[in-house]
Symmetry: C2
Subunit: 239 residues, 2 copies
DNA sequence: GAGTATTTTTGACTCTAAGTCGAGACTATC
DNA sequence: GATAGTCTCGACTTAGAGTCAAAAATACTC
């Protein structure tokens, strides 16, 4: 506990998004939260995170938190914002540097759901500790915005996927239907995905082509990867 | 001086952009830097900034720095990124939260150019202290990118301006010519600017219409103003 | 005061990317 | 062999931006 006129405490938190199948056919956007065990806000749900370790990079800290909370590796990780309102934490001054991450849905399914970690629907959260509701709202806005002008959707999927699966990611997150034909044309023209040559059989209809993400940097367009395109910030193709 | 295993020091710095006329006809993009008077990097140029005051909001700290360095108020202010590489400052761990700002060119002209503050051309900087060259490069990238999809260009101008002046802002920053007719059509259709009804006389050609920025929120589009659209983050129309 | 230089302002045409929509292709199942 | 149900493709439409040149309006020159 720091008195008001000392140096602010520095924490790193992470908003972790995944797409998990639910009872109905369409998956839903979910994020993991941890239950606080001490004051302030004891017993309330909060974003996973913690104080920044002495010689740990910010992104590493977010990555570590994600691993400790979900047991998973991020497929996409990006800094979101630094929150520093003096009143955001009662009693002490805490500046939180927040990251947001995507993890693949099929991996997230087999995740430990301990006493103190639970997954919530992103658009139906309880009252969270601190200003974490505001933070999640902002992360959601960034996710939706960035999905439209960059190519991060495959961060929710495995290494190979059908166009229908990719389109479903867009439809669930943007909350609107997308024309299949137009989507195919745009995606193929962009060069972000390449057909693997294999097809997904076993469906009860025409077998769809399987695609994978094109890791060529020139196919990724000019979107924000942070101050330098460090490998850590790009998507990991194999887990 | 903090030993490596204590809490990191928190600093706030600001990249301040302005458009200043030079000897030739076209203005150039410039940023103010301050000369460091102590180690590390004594006598090298660095971004204006300093440690975060105990109960000061992050944006307020950036604003104050800007005022102390230039004597001006920002016409646009936005958080850029938090830099936290453990090796970025020799001897102590410093996490810098960096903002970027725009100030009007005509105001910046009459600024005190003290011994320890100087304005540099943004694309021709000396070797700076810490990782500040990297930071400026990233801020420049953000400025250029954001100029294209949002409406921040008038942050460089006064309250009223001609379309030619606004177009020149785009041309100087994006470093390419822009068709005047197309520019007019796009700008007028967007609704971001409204004609004042007055014209600029005294030129040696057809007197151009004067425009002002349209403060209506729905005219601003869906670009990133931070987690909440606080007035502080939006553009001030009168200085 | 008429002509010239210069930039503003307007409008027509073109080009590109995306939205719309429907028909044909292909596999599993009945 | 017919049917259900997607996948895949192609034609048409629409919206926005790029291109380009002509008309408009002022100050300056002679």
């Amino acid at each position: 506990m720091t008195s008001p006129d000392e140096q602010p405490t520095l924490a790193v938190s992470t908003v972790i998004f995944t797409l998990q199948p639910n009872d109905s056919a369409t998956p839903e956007l979910r994020i993991p939260l941890v239950k606080r065990i001490r004051n302030p806000f004891a017993n309330q749900w909060a974003l996973p995170g913690g104080p920044l370790a002495a010689s740990e990079d910010l992104a590493d800290s977010a990555s570590r938190t994600l691993r400790e909370t979900t047991g998973l590796e991020p497929r996409y990780l990006e800094q979101l914002y630094a929150f520093g309102d003096p009143a955001r934490s009662p009693g002490e001054r805490v500046v939180s540097i927040v990251y947001w991450a995507l993890v693949a849905g099929d991996e997230a399914a087999q995740v430990f759901d301990s006493e103190n970690v639970a997954w919530f629907r992103a658009d139906d959260l309880p009252q969270l500790a601190f200003d974490h509701n505001l933070i999640v709202d902002y992360a959601l806005w960034r996710l939706r915005t960035k999905l439209e002008y960059s190519r991060i959707a495959h961060g929710f999927l495995g290494d190979t996927f059908t166009l229908a699966a990719l389109r479903e990611v867009y439809e669930v997150i943007l909350q609107r239907p997308i024309d299949a034909g137009n989507f195919r044309r745009t995606m193929e023209a962009s060069g972000v995905i390449v057909p693997t040559g294999e097809r997904l059989t076993g469906t009860r209809h025409r077998p769809p082509q399987l695609y994978r993400y094109n890791a060529e940097p020139e196919s990724q367009g000019e979107f924000d990867l942070g101050p330098r395109s460090r490998p850590m910030l790009t998507v990991k193709e194999t887990a």
